[in-house]
């Protein structure tokens, strides 16, 4: 079996044109990940540019209100550019630069990964082009302009369902057009090997910090770590350093949209089946002939028909649990966190908050759970207002 396997998942199902580039990328990554100079540079960018380490905040009001486990929030929303995406992007951009690449291309859903990539490109003096579904450029017009301010060119993608999966298709096509000077800065723990590994490693700083911070605060590991899952990069980053700690429950929250019993859902584990797509074997939402299903979620960042191969594996072996959260539940949690703790989180992260609201009371007062607040919610305010029928003329 080929490289990059997580149980039966993963692999490199990609066009021959890209194979040598993936091999070179893996070689470069294996070299630089152990290079002290590379790591010192990346740590400096993390700490002095992105604002790491991010806070682990004890949400006391929420804890009292829910009447169970102590609730901690990992504040990835406080990172520069407003989400966890910057962790992976700084790592990949630096790696690409070392490989002699001068141009970054990337897909984006909500725009968070696009903004992060455009930011890293500006900082490191690289060209940048972002592919974003036409539906999403309309939903997230502010982020489009933000990327343009940072010097990136944004291509609205009009093929297929005009959302995240089509943006990935188009970025892959562009990469096969021009690979010699271009790195595809993939935004999640998905795609062909070595991307799921590289993205996980750069995101694993989240759980590395979480572990140190919770041990300092509580003197013991948390009972559970909860994160939202689209492709799954923030969740993989939040889970990774806890995988060997079998007593820590790992819970991924998928976007159920209007519900897992409707067609308007993006919950891959709940409704998908095994398949091969976007370079990997994993679970996908698809029809009886293996056509990839159009998916739906209020959250553009979770509106993806697949899940990263390592999550698929953690699901298979029962190490992590994946639960669906509906639009309604996520919006309620979004508003709850704003009113209770004064934090407007991303609608993606609100899916994780929603599950914590359900289960916190099942834990003892001496136990803690950590919710990964993967991003901030400024970008979602207009959409939430629309959802509630409020006209704010944005």
């Amino acid at each position: 079996m080929s490289k990059g396997r997580y149980g039966i998942h993963g692999g490199q199902y990609i066009s021959e044109t890209l194979m040598n580039e993936l091999i070179r990328l893996e070689e470069a990554y294996e070299h630089y990940k152990n290079d002290p100079e590379f790591n010192a540079e990346l740590t400096k960018l993390f700490n002095e540019y992105a604002g790491r380490p991010s806070l682990l905040y004890y949400a006391e009001k929420m804890t009292k209100d829910l009447g169970g486990a102590k609730i901690y929030l990992k504040r990835e929303d406080l990172n520069h550019t407003g989400s966890h995406k910057i962790n992976n992007v700084l790592g990949q951009a630096l790696l690409a630069k070392k490989m002699g690449k001068t141009r970054l291309i990337a897909e984006t859903g909500a725009g968070q990964h696009g903004v992060a990539t455009a930011t890293a490109a500006a900082l490191l003096g690289m060209e940048c082009e972002i592919f974003m579904g036409k539906e999403d450029t309309d939903r997230q017009a502010l982020n489009v302009y933000r990327m343009e301010l940072l010097g990136a060119k944004v291509h609205p993608v009009t093929s297929g369902t005009m959302t995240l999966k089509d943006a990935v298709n188009e970025t892959m096509r562009e990469w096969t057009n021009r690979v010699h000077d271009t790195h595809y800065c993939l935004g999640s723990v998905m795609g062909p090997h070595p991307f799921p590994m590289i993205v996980r490693d750069f995101q694993s700083v989240i759980s590395k910090e979480m572990k140190e911070q919770i041990l300092k605060a509580e003197g013991k590991l948390p009972a559970a770590v909860i994160a939202c899952v689209g492709g799954g990069s923030n969740a993989m980053g939040a889970f990774y350093n806890f995988i060997e700690d079998k007593d820590v429950q790992l819970i991924g929250c998928e976007a159920a949209g209007k519900g897992v019993d409707t067609a308007l859902t993006a919950a891959t584990i709940a409704t998908g089946s095994l398949g091969i797509f976007h370079g990997m074997k994993s679970y996908f939402c698809q029809d009886e002939y293996g056509q990839i299903a159009p998916v739906y979620s209020i959250s553009a960042g979770l509106d993806y028909p697949g899940i990263g191969p390592e999550h698929a594996y953690l699901h298979d072996i029962g190490r992590a649990q994946y639960v669906p959260i509906t639009d309604d539940e996520a919006v309620d949690a979004f508003e709850y966190l704003a009113r209770t703790e004064g934090i407007i989180c991303a609608i993606e992260s609100a899916h994780a908050v929603a599950h914590a609201l359900k289960i916190a009371k099942n834990f003892g007062k001496d136990e803690s759970i950590i919710i990964n607040i993967s991003g901030r919610g400024d970008k979602d305010v207009a959409a939430i207002a629309r959802y509630r029928g409020v006209d704010i003329h944005d």
Partner: protein, 267 residues
């Protein structure tokens, strides 16, 4: 292995022409409908096509340019499925023994079930399968069940393949699909890759014929590409004719294929 199964594989016949060069035509199953696809295949055979690639449409054809992407969407919208594509082959096989390959993506085949898919190919006489998202590293899971039913998994070689050319070619079956250019399928005014040296490198290790595809649309290009290899593959230019003329495309397709076949015959 499976030599007896491959004895009746028809791909090699495509290259048994007067000058040993093949003209290979691609179209998408169900574009604009199944009846038309059957008619177009038979018409292209009459006009001189030596092998036909039938595309099983996929929702997300990442190796295709806009022309074939649109054909995939049209076909799916019109209800084409994997079973529908098999039915098209069954109807073609009632009257024709032209070498046939499917072209699609891994997921429709995986989801159908490898053994079920390839036993159906064997039963109906599909000789090969082209999967642009199945590189050398991943081919084993597909090749084992395909070969057990006498179906060749076509290997692709790209301008970026370098040292992979010979590794891939050594294990190739049926024919080798040499991708002419970087990027996705689609008509190109110029092909700059040094294809002669790629073909040379292939020939050092195998007798399996090489055909060049991606970007070929004119008789001049077809002649030139077949001249340095064993055949020319044309997709987007054919699909464009179907997109423009719909169900009435047969006469135009015949005329186009005839001009391309003549050019390849002179290569």
């Amino acid at each position: 292995m499976y030599e007896d199964k491959f004895a009746k594989n028809k791909i090699k016949k495509a290259f048994e022409t007067a000058n040993g060069k093949a003209f290979i035509a691609f179209l998408t199953a169900g574009d604009p409908d199944a009846d038309s696809t059957v008619r177009f295949v038979l018409e292209m055979e009459k006009a001189g096509a030596d092998l036909i690639e039938i595309g099983i449409p996929f929702s997300d054809p990442t190796a295709e340019g806009v022309v074939i992407q649109d054909a995939n969407i049209r076909a799916l919208k019109n209800g084409m499925t994997t079973d529908g594509a098999f039915e098209i082959v069954r109807r073609i096989r009632e009257v024709s023994q032209i070498p046939l390959c499917f072209m699609t993506y891994c997921n429709p085949v995986f989801h159908y079930g490898y053994d079920r898919f390839f036993s159906k190919c064997e039963e109906l006489g599909v000789d090969g399968i082209i999967l642009p998202d199945l590189p050398y590293e991943e081919k084993a899971e597909m090749e084992e069940p395909a070969n057990a039913h006498g179906v060749a998994v076509i290997s692709m070689i790209a301008p970026t393949s370098e040292a992979r050319i010979q590794t891939t070619a050594k294990e190739a079956k049926g024919f080798i699909y040499v991708v002419s250019s970087m990027g996705v399928t689609g008509v190109r005014s110029e092909i700059k890759t040094d294809l002669a040296s790629i073909v040379q490198s292939v020939r050092e290790v195998t007798d399996v014929p090489c055909a060049i595809g991606f970007g070929i649309s004119t008789p001049e290009q077809a002649k030139k590409m077949a001249g340095i290899s064993d055949g020319s593959i044309v997709g987007s230019a054919i699909v464009k004719i179907i997109a423009a003329k719909g169900k009435d495309a047969a006469p135009d397709l015949a005329e186009y294929v005839r001009s391309m076949k003549e050019a390849v015959a002179l290569a």
